[in-house]
């Protein structure tokens, strides 16, 4: 049994421990991320927490030059942009995450299909500090 349950907040609780969790449907076997109480594929309510290996493939990305407030507070701006993308995990499901260690200033050099591995990034000041999902080229 996992120490995490299927309710939404467990995703970030696990991430803080550098674990990437989701759910696996016990009826149809499909994976979801973040974890779901109801399987989006077959509607079954027999789902259990699963921990992903954290490797995957980059499916889409963008380099953000005009950041939202929270990212601006983390130090990003037009001169210091960041990459965010969608990664398909080896187990199948996809998730949005910040993409680190890519050629931010030459986005045309960032390639869809690049193999990725999971990491985390913390943003925010002291008490507000939160751990977020990130990936970098494997």
């Amino acid at each position: 049994m996992s120490e995490y349950t299927l309710t939404s907040k467990n995703f970030y609780k696990a991430l803080k421990q550098k674990q990437l969790i989701g759910s696996k449907c016990q009826v149809c076997g499909s994976y979801a991320i973040p974890q779901r109480q109801i399987c989006p594929k077959c509607h079954s309510d027999q789902n259990e927490i699963t921990t992903y290996v954290g490797s995957g493939t980059l499916k889409a990305f963008t380099v953000i030059f005009v950041p939202p407030v929270k990212m601006a507070e983390a130090g990003y701006n037009a001169k210091n942009p960041y990459c965010v993308g969608i990664v398909e995990l080896d187990e199948g499901p996809r998730i949005s995450a910040q993409i680190l260690d890519v050629d931010i200033l030459q986005p045309e050099n960032i390639k869809i299909g690049t193999k990725m591995e999971m990491t985390t990034i913390t943003r925010g000041e002291e008490a507000d500090q939160t751990t977020f999902l990130a990936f970098r080229p494997a």
Partner: protein, 421 residues
């Protein structure tokens, strides 16, 4: 009857809109009244407001933009329509198109005969970062926004998937922007009355006047390819790929088909309508198209008994240039991967085989999010009745389609309108 599932048909007998733009001295209710007044004067045989049975208002987030929720009954009362049933419909940027569909369904059910539809958003009271935060609430704020996504970012990510899948160059997006600005320059309701070429020339002139080095842009493509003229917002989407932040209102009057001729001899009939939903971006099987749009279009075509080639003009949801390219594929005007070529070859221009966004689209006309879907109907109203002025399509267009998307594609609604002679 073609609309076999609907108990009775629905017609549009009037439409009006405010100008779209940034209006510091107006509130949303002023813009609504402006649109309502124009709608009233558009009804050929005149109309008595006491005939209105209900009001459906498309509005994304007056609570965030103006700190005013519960907007529908407030507006109804403001123009003397109380106590009619008044409903605010919220589906992000598709709120207006969904309000049209909900009003039509209410008429088709037999509950109401005459329904006022509004679309409204007053966005520019907030500063740009607050607007961005407000718009972000249309996405999954638990799992997408914390990753660092913005709305331009979602569409930019779809653009990278599209470019990788279909080999499209960034230049294809520029052609959407150039075309929509050319159309918008002919629309006195548009936020931007300038073509990209005029914007480029005025930037050169300003540099010259200020004694700065004059950029050497020879044409619009060179201008748009230069980050100094067209700065990156979310690569590969740059400033001129993005629709603006706007204020605006739009209104239409929908009635039961059997009473339409009491209002006008030239109503537009709502002959097809479809709506679909989807998950957050990562949950979709494809990132290079919008599946909810394809699904909504299929429903609308099936109801109308039409194919994409029967559509004389389309107003599509070009919140970003990539969105128009995906839309013209999702709607079946061009095959998968053919949208970017069609854009570059001028096939979506006013004289092209599939005219798209003759109004200037969200890009040039402006994008007061909740109003946009009803704004699209206003363009179709004008084009099909032959009163679109300098941008009027030739060839007596008879069938128009409106495609309105919410969020990054979690909602799409497609409505098809026909003029019958």
């Amino acid at each position: 009857m073609k609309n076999h599932k609907w108990s009775r048909g629905v017609a549009v007998v009037g439409a009006g809109m405010s100008r779209f733009g940034a209006f510091a001295d107006k509130t949303s209710r002023d813009l609504f009244v402006e649109a309502y007044q124009e709608m009233k004067s558009s009804i050929d045989k005149g109309f008595d407001p006491d005939r209105i049975d209900a009001f459906y208002l498309g509005n994304f987030s007056s609570d965030q933009f103006e700190k005013q929720a519960h907007l529908a009954p407030i507006l109804a009362s403001w123009i003397g329509l109380s106590p009619i049933a008044s409903v605010r419909v919220e589906n992000a940027c598709a709120s207006g198109g969904i309000a049209i569909r909900q009003a039509a369904l209410a008429i088709a059910s037999g509950e109401y005969d005459v329904v006022l539809v509004g679309g409204l958003e007053k966005m520019t009271d907030l500063d740009i970062s607050a607007v961005t935060e407000a718009l972000a609430t249309a996405a999954d704020t638990q799992f997408e926004i914390p990753a660092g996504f913005t709305f331009p970012g979602f569409y930019a990510a779809m653009a990278t998937a599209y470019m990788a899948e279909h080999g499209a160059p960034r230049e294809a997006f520029y052609h959407v922007s150039i075309k929509n600005h050319e159309n918008g320059a002919l629309n006195d309701k548009a936020q931007f009355g300038q073509t990209i070429k005029q914007i480029m020339e005025s930037k050169k002139k300003r540099a010259e006047e200020k004694g700065r080095p004059v950029p050497e842009w020879q044409n619009e493509i060179e201008f748009l390819s230069d980050p100094k003229g067209n700065p990156n917002i979310a690569w590969p989407m740059a400033l001129f790929d993005c629709s603006p932040v706007s204020d605006g209102g739009a209104v239409a009057l929908l009635v039961a088909e059997d009473i339409a001729k009491e209002f006008t001899d030239t109503p537009l009939y709502l002959i097809g309508s479809g709506q679909a939903s989807d998950g957050a971006l990562p949950d979709r099987e494809t990132l290079a198209s919008i599946p909810a749009a394809e699904a909504a279009a299929k429903q609308a075509y099936a109801m109308a008994g039409l194919t994409p080639d029967d559509i004389d003009l389309a107003e599509v949801h070009d919140c970003f240039t990539i969105a128009e390219i995906m839309a013209i594929e999702d709607l079946g005007f061009f095959p998968r991967g053919g949208g970017w070529k069609a854009a570059m070859e001028g096939k979506t221009a006013r004289d092209g085989e599939h005219p798209v966004n003759t109004s200037g689209g969200l890009k040039a006309k402006g994008h007061p999010v909740g109003a946009s879907g009803v704004g699209q109907l206003n363009e179709i109203w004008k084009q099909l009745r032959g009163v679109a002025g300098a941008r009027q399509l030739q060839g007596n267009p008879r069938i128009g389609l409106a495609h309105n998307v919410g969020g990054s594609g979690q909602t799409c609604v497609v409505n098809i309108f026909e003029r019958r002679d």
